[in-house]
Amino acid sequence: MLEVDGVEVRFGDHVAVAGVSMVVERGEVVCLLGPSGSGKTSLLRAVAGLETPAAGAIRWDGRDVTREPTHRRGFGLVFQDFALFPHRSVAANVGFGLRMRGEPVEERVAEVLALVGLEGYGSRMPSTLSGGEQQRVALARAVAPGCELLLMDEPLGSLDRPLRERLTGELRAMLHDLGVAVVHVTHDQQEALAIADRVVVLRDGRVAQAGTPPEVWRRPADEFVARFLGFANLLPHPDGLLVVPPDAVSLGPEGEPGTVTAVTFRGTGFAVTVAVDGGASLEVPVRSEAIPAPGDRVRVAIEARLTSVVPVVR
């Protein structure tokens, strides 16, 4: 079990991580989610031992590793652009950690390459691989020495979107097969929600919210989290803002009357923007054949069960 206890990371006067605590159980995938500059990568690097925390402690299975050099921690690390050794073959990359430990290399390398679906790639050079293949080699290299904690810094971040979406599912399956503790850093909420057992949303170096993907999705902690998750419909509310997820609004015979102001094609359907009488504007996903046109009068129904109220963030 990884325990991060009040960790602070500073770069000169700049505070990148301002006292974050969290726990990652064995077999659990935790996503650190946040925009750039939120401190997620700095926190990951502190856990890896590549940054020294200014305060706080990092423990693995109760053992304090805060001051232990990176190479003695034995955590696996996957970089955003993979950082494969360009002068070594795939097999030599994957076998590097085993060699550092003085353990037999060949058999385990073949085993791990099979795990990531790259049998027979051992003699290839990294530069001859596609982005997706390099990503798998990076994963194989990190897990080959049999690490119990795997740290991943935007492991899919440098791949194009279709490939990323395909690999997200594969990655989740592979991580669960490994059964290790995983800390996965990303700025992509789709990826985080799809992969994580638990999500930790960071803002300005602090934890904005932590919880399972459905918890975070259904009950965002505040306006920042709601906006970061991509909710477009935030309505004024006496206690802050009312978050209306896309699946909570529909056009129909019942509901608030309003006027259509815009219709945008979204591929899987249309987004109809409705100015509700009385002021608020709502975006409503529509998939039916009957698409209203701007200027049409419609009614918008909101399923109150799926909405939540969040405090405003200055």
Binding site: G12, L50, G74, G76, P86
Partner: protein, 538 residues
């Protein structure tokens, strides 16, 4: 293709300029040396002579030791410069470069000043002068820049995440450096090491001035055969041995250079934290002290008139004394040096510029041949060149031996390769779309060159001019053969001063060295301001 034809014939005509120049003043003299050296049993006699065998062996081992020592001194500094951002980094970078561009004679007199009887290290380390110790120290001093700059540039290209990846896989910092970064910079390291080996293998001025009468490299021995024994045949045979060894070095170095793996880092350098600051200080402190001390001592000794400070030695440069080692007032040497340097720069820019222009635009066989022709003099020692001029240009139809013009011509030959190496990358880096844009807008091919290439490459040309000027000012080996006694250059004057006893001669050597150092430093500072990062490793 039809539209290309007029340009082809034009460039063909242009190509005759560097071809004729290199042919007349390099190929022919060197061919004459080789022919003379291979006449009779010259080479065999040289190889069989016990004393000359010792010279060859000394040349080899001092070059090897100098190379290893240079790498050992330069590597930590290269690492510090590549990996860390700190105040004064640009200054350190410039200071490391200074020795490389200093004239050999100035470096030699600096080590005389430091290790000599009244020098700051004359007590504890005075035993090194004259001798191998002083030679090795000066060689390291000279070449630190080559290794440090080349390796630092290469290290800067290595993504620091690679070492971090290695560390996360169980490698300590040192193991990560050894396993990941070192192999990635090995091609650069090997390239730099072979350059250092070549420079020290053909070392002349440093060995002549610091080695004493018992130490000689092949180059020094060639000079002695000519100057003391008037034995041009043995000198030529030695030059042949030297050439063969140099070619062998180049071939071996070429074989050892594996393919380069380029990898751009976003920003490799970062601020040092904690213990890293101490490590940085421990590396850069001694390195800088080593680089700065000799120059500071030269400058100090030039005004240290015994019992106080004064300009006596500088004033003495303006007067001609009876019994002086120069036949003219020393200030004449300054005039000569500046005149020769201006002429040499003009020639080098003309020859090197044409070659660069032809080499940059077409990968035709002619341009490659041109490039090779102009680059070869770089691998040939100045002494061989000087000897070649003596042997080839001393009889009709070309009896030029007493013509002062040979000196700037030799300097231009040595400087032209640098011009090519600086201008070609600048021309190649010009975005071809700019030329296409100019052509679409109605510019003829000639107008395109004038409107796009010339302005964009002008910085590189200025840098090249600075280098050529500095090279000519400091050139010693060839000049020693070619300059007439009553027409010395500054390095020759320093050499003569150092060869004479007495504090006045030593003081004048220091004063002249300081002047040469200042002029060179000014030129180089100008270059540093002009270079836009587009110019190569050094």
């Amino acid at each position: 293709m039809d539209r290309d034809r007029p340009r082809l014939s034009g460039s063909g005509l242009l190509a005759t300029v560097p071809l004729a120049f290199v042919g007349l003043f390099f190929v022919w003299p060197v061919a004459t040396v080789i022919a003379e050296g291979l006449t009779g049993a010259g080479v065999l006699e040289v190889l069989g002579d016990r004393r000359l065998q010792r010279v060859a062996w000394f040349t080899l081992w001092q070059a090897a030791v100098s190379t290893v020592l240079t790498i050992a001194v330069a590597l930590p500094g290269a690492w510090a410069l590549a990996r860390f951002r700190f105040r004064g980094r640009a200054v350190v970078w410039a200071l490391i470069t200074v020795p490389f561009v200093l004239p050999t004679v100035v470096v030699a007199s600096a080590f005389v000043a430091v290790l000599g009887p009244r020098g700051p290290l004359g007590g504890p380390l005075g035993g090194l002068l004259p001798g191998v110790g002083a030679i090795l120290a000066a060689h390291v001093y000279f070449n630190v820049a080559v290794v440090a700059r080349t390796v630092a540039n290469a290290l800067g290209q290595v993504d620091p995440q690679l070492e971090e990846a290695a560390r996360s896989l169980g490698a300590s910092r040192w193991t990560a450096f050894r396993e990941v970064s070192l192999p990635l910079v090995r091609p650069a390291l090997v390239a730099a090491a072979s350059i250092v080996f070549l420079f020290t293998f053909t070392s002349f001025g440093v060995v002549l001035l610091l080695g004493g009468p018992r130490r000689a490299t092949i180059d020094v021995e060639i000079w002695r055969q000519v100057a003391y024994f008037l034995d041009l045949r043995t000198a030529a045979a030695l030059a042949v041995v030297q050439l063969v060894a140099v070619v062998a070095c180049l071939v071996v170095a070429g074989r050892m250079q594996a393919r380069v793996v380029p990898r751009r880092a976003r920003d490799a350098a970062r601020r040092p934290v904690g213990a890293e600051r101490a490590v940085l200080a421990a590396i850069l402190g001694p390195t800088l002290a080593f680089l700065v001390t000799p120059l500071a001592v030269v400058a100090y000794r030039s005004v240290d008139v015994g019992g106080g400070l004064g300009l006596t030695f500088y004033r003495a440069l303006g007067t001609s004394r009876r019994g002086s080692s120069l036949f003219v007032p020393p200030e004449a040497a300054i005039r000569n040096s500046v005149t020769y340097a201006a002429i040499a720069t003009a020639i080098a820019l003309l020859v090197g510029g044409i070659t660069a222009g032809l080499a940059a635009y077409r990968d035709r066989r002619t341009s490659r041949l041109l490039d090779l022709l102009v680059m070869v003099p770089l691998g040939t020692s100045a002494v061989t060149l000087g000897l070649g001029f003596l042997l080839a240009l001393d009889e009709p139809p070309l009896d030029l031996r007493t013509w002062w013009g040979l000196v700037p011509i030799a300097h231009a030959l040595i400087a032209a390769p640098f011009v090519v190496r600086i201008v070609v990358p600048a021309l190649r880096s010009i975005d071809p779309r700019l030329r296409e844009a100019a052509a679409v807008l109605g510019a003829s091919p000639v107008r395109v060159r004038l409107a796009v290439d010339v302005p964009l490459a002008s910085r590189a040309v200025l840098v090249a001019a600075g280098f050529a000027f500095a090279i000519s000012l400091g050139e010693f080996g060839a000049t020693l053969f070619l300059a007439r006694p009553d027409n010395p250059t500054m390095p020759i004057a320093i050499f003569r001063f150092l060869g004479q006893p007495g504090p006045l001669n030593l003081g004048q050597a220091m004063a002249m060295s300081t002047l040469l150092m200042l002029v060179t430093a000014t030129v180089i500072a100008g270059i540093e301001r002009f270079r836009a990062g587009s110019v190569g490793a050094f």
